[in-house]
């Protein structure tokens, strides 16, 4: 019963919290740029405004264009339901593991890319083409991270990995460090953050994600942007959950444990969001064809993380 309650709370928590995290990142960035910046609650107001507007759909668009925002948002949301945030006691936790998580994000990406191509404008195709190039390196890197985590912890399920780490089964290992580095690089690419993509630009030759959703407006745009925010929250939960799971409620924890877990999750998110804002301010965006070096590096780090497990065993 608590597993069901925990799951339902998780489902609505990720969606409710996601705009706040994005708002906080924006606030940190504007303060660092010397601007006052909007309130961190501005994304909620933006959503309300977008939902009230009518959706404009191009004449040449098919039903894929109109379905894609819903499918994308639902897929990312479903993926976010499976990553433990404040408790590992969730009824849906066994339904998908890290491999399925990668694939669920792949579903969202597939539909967004199709939507970008649906209207038949050059910007949409440009975004879709680049997004798929990035994904074709980021996805394997993420799978290699899962591979090394599964070798260290003996499982691919996020909830079980966290339980294993909390149980003290993992010491400090080279492989874990490499896996963390690879995972952060993948997270940057998957969320379209600097140096891979700039979420704040339009009409630059370098844009990727914004180019795909250029034709969206009204509620469709709200869903596409919401999916991006939930995805950011998901990766924060994943990184903090696996590499710093402390404070997370375990099965059998009382109300106090759950409250502690929630508090710990909020604290971790705000630390990560602040760090992201800081990082994005100090770094410059990369050229498109440099992505391959960056993400190829992530893939190689993931592979090394797997292989180092045996090297450290043998030494």
């Amino acid at each position: 019963m608590t597993a069901i309650l925990g799951q339902i709370a998780q489902i609505f928590l990720v969606v409710a919290l996601a705009p706040l995290i994005t708002g906080w990142v924006r606030l940190v960035k504007s303060r660092l740029n010397g601007r006052i910046g909007a309130s961190p609650f501005q994304p909620y107001r933006d959503f309300y405004r977008l939902l009230q507007k009518e959706a404009v759909v191009a004449h040449s668009a098919s039903w894929v264009f109109r379905a894609a925002p819903y499918v994308t948002f639902a897929a990312v949301w479903l993926a976010a339901c499976i990553i433990p945030t404040f408790t590992t006691n969730m009824v849906l936790a066994p339904a998908a593991d890290l491999i399925a998580l990668v694939a669920l994000l792949g579903v969202a990406r597939f539909w967004t890319a199709l939507a970008g191509m649906d209207v038949g404008t050059s910007f949409g195709g440009l975004g879709a083409s680049r997004e798929m190039m990035i994904a074709s390196l980021a996805e394997p890197a993420m799978l290699m991270v899962s591979f090394s985590l599964s070798l260290i912890t003996g499982t691919t399920s996020p909830a079980q990995i966290i339980a294993f780490v909390l149980g003290g089964g993992v010491g400090i290992e080279v492989s874990l460090g490499l896996a963390l580095a690879a995972l952060i690089m993948v997270a940057i690419a998957e969320n379209g953050r600097i140096p891979i993509d700039n979420p704040a630009t339009h009409l630059e030759l370098t844009m990727v994600h914004e180019a795909m959703v250029l034709e969206y407006s009204g509620r469709h745009l709200a869903l596409m942007e919401g999916a991006g925010m939930v995805r950011l929250t998901l990766f924060m939960a994943l990184i903090s959950g696996i590499f710093a799971p402390w404070g997370m409620a375990q099965p059998g924890a009382g109300a106090l444990g759950v409250a502690l877990g929630l508090g710990a999750f909020l604290a971790k998110c705000f630390i990560l969001a602040t760090a992201l804002g800081f990082f994005e301010t100090v770094i410059a965006k990369m050229r498109v064809f440099r992505y391959a070096d960056f993400l190829g590096g992530a893939l190689l780090l993931g592979l090394l993380a797997t292989i180092f497990i045996y090297v450290s065993e043998a030494v």
Binding site: V57, S60, Y70, R109, G120, L137
Partner: protein, 669 residues
């Protein structure tokens, strides 16, 4: 009995097909008959698969070689492949009922179509080497005739020639392989071969020859060169069978020899298979991304998927040889699951390519576009196929990839150091192939079915006959069903795996029916059923919330495109431009891709030109190399035709002496 009558019905249909002449209704009758016969065979396979594990009764017919009767038997492995083959053939035959009008020369297709089906089914039930090879040749030659059906096209003729060469080479390897397994006494029936022991060298040669023989039919790199030439050259419903089904019969041959007849393949071969599989998967999908021809793209994607299956088979061999029987069963189930899935979605995608060609007359991606609005049925079914082949949940392609990854993740538990380091590398290749497959099908679907029409033909695409649409709809439904109930499929396949690996595959019991948890419940699990239900509920919640809080108004307008009002259709992304980032990142050294831009002089109104040149290094170095060597040797041997009688007699005498010496030396031993 039912199976025998269905097979004889196929032979009779071939005769009727010859007599059909120009009357279209007779062609339709042949396809309808094929569909019914396939359905009967499908039912026969399913019925056997539903029974408890065990070998079926042997049937011995007094045909074939004078001293040896023909043996047939339907065991679990044959029954599974009978189901796989006849799912595809049923769909293709139903598609053919509507499609046969649109084939360039139906009289060259209809008679051979039932023969092709007969050949594939006969391979599966053969229980001796002779019948196996005869059926195998039947299948190869019938499909060769079908490739040649458009014989006025120069490209088809050369494709058919390459195909014939490769098929001959494959059969030659298999013939030798069976000869070695039968031993000196010539026990050509499969039960005799199972009992026959082998020494080290023979065992090595048997595996090598099986890999060359069956691998060339399945399209393993570097023996894949014929596949993307021959598969697209045939009419689309035949391409669907060649790619979706015939490659599976080749894999059946490989599994039959490596897991059943030979039985004790060393783990090193497992490593070789995994390496070949990984390379095949990555190269196959990279080739596919570079293609402009829709059917060639699909054929290369077949190469990729065969690679994925072979990774699973190689892993199963390594686990089996190391005594990890439960993991061997897992890897083999993963491979077989992928075989089932690929046969369904590849048949679907080739049929939809046929539908596109029928509706527009074009198979080049750059002449298509916007077809989803003109052909909603085909478009929707193709979208399901594209999602499934990109291994996206909750469809079937994802389940088998998930199983292969799960078994790969256990690979480092093998005792060999080569495997500990090799398995992660193969894992990375598989992950790369899976991600590239998604790019490949976003490209194919996005260019062909979305966007605006790139040619007049695409803008005027017409709808299709009932039978063509329904065969695609049923296959698309199967993609969804096999993804949503994975445990039901693995339970059915576990009967097949049991005799091959020694243990049966069972999902961990403590989670129950819809949860697929192959090793233990804490090891990682997946549930398509739960994921579909939850995903659908979230989708509905999403719609309700958005429409509840906001407005539901929609306005149709021109595309915004950042304010660019020019309405040039060619400004859309084309196949080449979509592939450009991937081509630069992955293919520049691998395929020697060269891009040259020719700009006109200032003031000149001529268009700028971008030329892309791709070199297939395997074709250039391996095939053309071999071709040159064969040509050189043939030239030399040619001189022997013009010798004097005296010299011929001398050569005969020398040969005779040599043979006698060989006999004498052997007797000395």
């Amino acid at each position: 009995m039912l199976i025998a009558s269905a097979l004889s019905a196929l032979l009779a249909l071939a005769v009727f097909g010859v007599l059909a002449g120009g009357e279209m209704w007779r062609h339709r009758v042949v396809y309808l008959g094929c569909a019914i016969a396939s359905l009967v065979l499908l039912a026969g396979g399913l019925k056997h698969l539903g029974q408890t594990p065990g070998t079926g009764p042997a049937i011995v017919l007094p045909i074939g070689l004078p001293w040896m009767a023909a043996h047939f038997r339907l065991d679990n492995l044959s029954a599974l492949f009978m189901v796989i083959v006849n799912l595809g053939t049923t769909a293709a035959s139903v598609f053919g009922i509507g499609y046969c009008d649109h084939v360039p020369e139906p009289r060259r297709v209809t008679p051979f179509f039932p023969l092709f089906l007969f050949g594939m089914n006969a391979v599966l039930i053969s229980d001796d080497a002779f019948m196996f090879l005869v059926s195998w040749e039947f299948m190869s030659l019938a499909s060769w005739l079908l490739v040649l059906s458009d014989h006025r096209n120069e490209e088809s003729r050369s494709a058919a020639f390459v195909y014939l060469m490769m098929a001959t080479f494959g059969t030659f390897c298999l013939l030798t392989c069976f000869g070695l397994m039968a031993g000196a006494e010539g026990g050509y029936s499969f039960p005799a071969m199972r009992l026959h022991g082998m020494d080290g060298l023979t065992s090595f040669l048997v595996v090598l020859l099986a890999l060359l023989g069956a691998g060339s039919k399945a399209g393993l790199v570097p023996l894949h060169a014929w596949l993307p030439l021959a598969h697209p050259a045939a009419p689309s419903h035949v391409s669907a069978l060649m790619s979706g089904v015939m490659t599976k019969v080749a894999l059946y041959g490989l599994i039959r020899i490596l897991f059943d007849l030979h039985g004790h393949v060393a783990w090193g071969w497992g490593a070789v298979l995994m390496g070949i599989g990984g390379v095949t998967a990555v190269l196959g999908v990279l080739y596919a991304i570079l293609q402009d021809d829709l059917k060639k793209l699909l054929a290369y994607s077949t190469v990729e998927n065969i690679g994925v299956v072979v990774i699973g088979l190689g892993l199963a061999i390594a686990f089996k040889d190391s005594g990890e029987k439960a993991l061997a069963a897992l890897a083999l189930v993963a491979g077989l699951y992928h075989i089932i899935n690929h046969s369904i979605f590849k048949t679907l995608l080739f049929l939809s390519a046929g539908a596109v060609i029928t509706a527009t007359g074009e198979r080049s991606l750059n002449k298509l576009g916007g077809l989803l609005n003109r052909m909603p049925w085909t478009g929707a079914a193709t979208l399901v196929g594209a999602l499934a082949i990109s291994a996206l949940p909750p469809l079937n392609g994802f389940v088998s990839e998930w199983l292969i990854f799960q078994s790969l993740f256990k690979g480092p538990s093998l005792p060999h150091w080569a495997m500990k380091f090799g398995v992660p590398v193969v894992g990375a290749m598989l992950a790369l192939a899976a991600a590239l497959a998604a790019s490949c099908f976003v490209r194919a679907y996005g260019i062909a079915f979305l966007g605006r029409p790139r040619s007049q033909a695409a803008a005027e695409a017409h709808t299709l006959p009932f039978s063509m649409r329904w065969s695609m709809a049923v296959l698309a439904a199967l993609c969804i069903i096999l993804g949503a109930v994975p445990v039901t499929v693995t339970d059915a396949v576990s009967h097949v795996v049991q005799p091959l690996t020694g243990v049966s595959f069972a999902v961990s019991a403590d989670l129950g029916w819809p949860w697929l948890s192959p090793v233990s419940s804490t090891r990682g699990s997946y549930s398509g059923t739960v994921l579909v239900m939850t995903g659908l509920s979230l989708f509905v919640i999403c719609i309700v919330l958005v429409h509840g809080f906001g407005t539901t108004r929609v306005r149709r307008a021109d595309a915004w495109d950042c304010g660019h009002r020019e309405n040039i259709v060619n400004a859309q992304y084309s196949g080449e431009s979509f592939a450009q980032p991937l081509r630069r990142v992955f293919c520049s050294s691998l395929f020697g891709v060269k891009e040259t831009v020719t700009m006109p002089d200032p003031g000149d109104m001529a268009p700028a030109k971008l030329e892309v040149r791709v070199i297939d290094r395997i074709w250039v170095f391996l095939y053309l190399g071999i071709g040159r060597v064969v040509g050189f040797v043939a030239d030399r041997v040619n001189r022997m035709q013009f010798l004097t009688v005296r010299r011929y007699l001398l050569m005969m005498f020398a040969t005779l002496v040599f043979m006698l010496l060989v006999v004498a030396v052997r007797q000395q031993k």
